[in-house]
Symmetry: C2
Subunit: 435 residues, 2 copies
């Protein structure tokens, strides 16, 4: 017997049951995105390696973290590791695009990472970005989209953690850390929530911060309170221009969030830093607070310099990434999916071979009326056909036999109630359309 071939290591196949969940999420999201004026947009799966390794993109070290390859003409390529970098490339090359350029992209990305539970080397990415506006209204709109998207799926308990890279820079200035260590410090303090105070202290020590600096910084990033309280506290400490700018942006977002109605979800958290270097202003993360602590459902921020770094005009931009796999995980845990196995409403069964063409004609009529239906393709007997319909959770069957054909009727069977009634096809169509 020939050998079997496996799913490539670190990736997954999505059988219908799994794809139906993802399609439900994707379709729900698309509707929300388009309600706000975001348009679909896609780029190729791979990019020139040059772009992926560019400043502002993945940097030199990216080669070890991606699928890198050469084509037959020795061009260096790599599978994209996110959707933001390719989008920024397109915007840089197309200055004629009307602004704001509001796009969404739901597609795969790839990272050659250590394989862990629920961490794959190929993953769905769902990005919503708004390009061209430097106004905080743009960031607030992105957050509104995220809130509406999650609510549309049935999420209730979630918060928005909010911070600003400018405030982080001011904090670092305040405790007198050299600028070149900035991103190392960002990465260290970002670990507060997931790994705790000791880890952050250790990492800050490794970065070279003195005990006094570490103590002060930790006190600052551990601050808690309502958005207003947090801003007031921070204003007293951060007396620098950059600090004020960051706080002013924070205040504006908080203010606009009142009009959108999600002010109650906002939690200002000065320890939120996010890993990527390209953020320049507001940064945010959406956290599930239903109690299971499964981390963030979405994350993003403002990146006003990326498009210019890729050779474009100076173009402000902000966006968020919704974590599809994380969302699937929570929705499974919380039993939030109420999805049928199939969209088929009726199985059109035949009593014997002689009426096969009749079942096809009836199925045709049903489909013309917009009723999804299915016929037998396996030459099964009636019992087996109904068992199959049952196994697929198809709610109704129509049973067609020579008698029914003669009398121009059909037998409608409710598969759950196990009830049958003999009706004219027109009646059945009316009934099924009303359900």
């Amino acid at each position: 017997m020939p050998e079997k071939f496996q799913t490539p290591r670190g990736t997954r196949d999505f059988l219908p049951e799994e794809m139906i969940k993802r399609n439900f999420i994707i379709n729900t999201f698309k509707k929300v995105f388009e309600n706000y004026g975001f348009s679909p947009f896609e780029t190729p799966a791979f990019e020139d390696f040059e772009l992926l390794a560019a400043k502002g993109s993945g940097g030199d070290e990216i080669k070890d973290q991606i699928y890198y390859f050469k084509d037959k003409s020795n061009r260096e390529l790599g599978l994209r590791f996110d959707l933001t970098v390719p989008m920024a490339r397109v915007v840089a090359n197309n200055p004629q695009l009307p602004k704001p350029f509001k796009r969404y992209c739901i597609a795969r990305a790839w990272r050659y990472e250590e394989i862990r539970k629920d961490r794959f080397r190929e993953f769905w990415q769902c990005d919503v970005d708004s390009v061209g506006s430097s106004s905080m209204e743009s960031d607030a709109e992105i957050l509104a989209v995220a809130v509406d998207s999650l609510k549309a799926l049935g999420f209730k308990k979630f918060n928005i953690k909010l911070n600003n890279r400018k405030i982080l820079s001011a904090l670092i200035d305040y405790v007198d850390v050299p600028k070149k260590k900035k991103y190392d410090v960002f990465r260290a303090i970002d670990k507060l929530d997931n790994f705790g105070e000791d880890t952050v202290k250790d990492e800050l020590k490794e970065v070279g911060l003195r005990p006094k600096q570490r103590k002060e910084l930790l006190e600052l990033i551990k601050m808690e309170g309502s958005p207003e309280e947090m801003i007031k506290k921070a204003e007293k400490i951060l007396q620098s221009a950059i600090g004020f700018e960051g706080l002013s942006e924070l205040k504006q977002i908080v203010e606009i969030s009142k009009s959108y109605g999600f002010i109650d979800r906002i939690v200002i958290d000065f320890s939120l830093a996010r890993g990527l270097d390209y953020y320049t202003g507001p940064i945010f993360e959406v956290i599930d607070t239903s109690g299971k602590n499964i981390g963030s459902l979405a994350g993003g921020g403002r990146y006003d310099e990326l498009i210019e770094l890729f050779g474009g005009r100076s173009t402000p931009a902000t966006g968020i990434s919704l974590g599809i796999e994380r969302i699937v995980e929570v929705m499974e845990q919380e039993k939030m999916f109420k999805l049928p196995k199939t969209k088929i409403k009726v199985f059109v069964a035949n009593v014997n071979e002689d009426v096969k063409t009749n079942t096809i004609e009836i199925a045709n009529q049903l489909r013309d009326e917009g009723i999804p239906c299915q016929i037998d393709l396996m030459n099964r007997n009636l019992k087996k056909q109904l068992e199959f319909a049952d196994s697929m959770d198809i709610p109704f069957s129509l049973i067609i036999g020579p008698d029914e054909v003669k009398k121009k009727t059909v037998k409608l069977r409710d598969m759950k109630k196990r009830e049958e009634s003999t009706l004219k096809l027109g009646k059945v169509i009316k009934k099924l359309k009303s359900i």
Copy 2:
């Protein structure tokens, strides 16, 4: 200024205008597929090279035709060149899948081919396959799905070319060509429609066929007539078991196509061979006949041996691939797309900064009522806001000023008619919902 980065060679970026077209096609198709009981299904972008180069898959020579690479652990991988091979792998590994396993997959595939106009190295693939049934009802259903899908997009003039690999084998036996030359002969005769008789003759000569063989074969594949006539003629010539089997399958599909109502589209064509080696029974191609001769819109066939070749149980299967890019091309030529630039119905404009929060609150209310709308993010003045709305083909604007806020009214502007009326928001919502 930093250098710009290009779209990778042989690939394309899809700006919103282009993606909106593709999404329209994809959504239309999905609805038809699900109406027939086909379910979504996806596999990773890359596969182990072993699979791609396996017998029945791409074969040894595939390496030069695909994007081939190694991961950090020296595993040989390649971007998939179609969606059938990965699906067959999954079915081979999952014998528990209920049959028929009816799946669709709309995703990218990649081939490292010579770049030509409208031929890219990354392309959309849209496959519908039915696995587990050896019945011709299954092939006929696949054709019905293709017909319905194209009709749903607005296609009217198209035919289904139909042939059968068994008939081709019988033809080849009839003119006495050695079995090992079979696939070379198939590839040669498949060129009749696109390249003409002389090319086929030359290629058959190259394969080593004698003049008499070439003449006889050409006469056979050039036969024309109604399906019934073609079958009758062929029955007289092909007196072998395999020939009868192929003709019987053809007859069954023709018969079932009457019930589905697409008999008038069927053209039996004994020169249709299709390139791939894995077909075993019926083969088909959907051809646009509107006169512009742009070749096939879809193509497929039965491949009963592929799953077994990949280590699975012997499992019959049949399917079709709808050519999304070709379909886009025809729809553009024929001006079949009637798509708005955006789904936004209303631009909620502000007269000045003071009423910005009011526009947000009104936009929120509209979205809650399911009306897609957009606010200004660019701090534009009213004139510029309306110009933007116009440029995006947004049909209506609401103009919000201090007066309107005081009187709790809004000004509705019909952007096409350039008419304005002052109304209560409730009235506007009612009006917009009714459009």
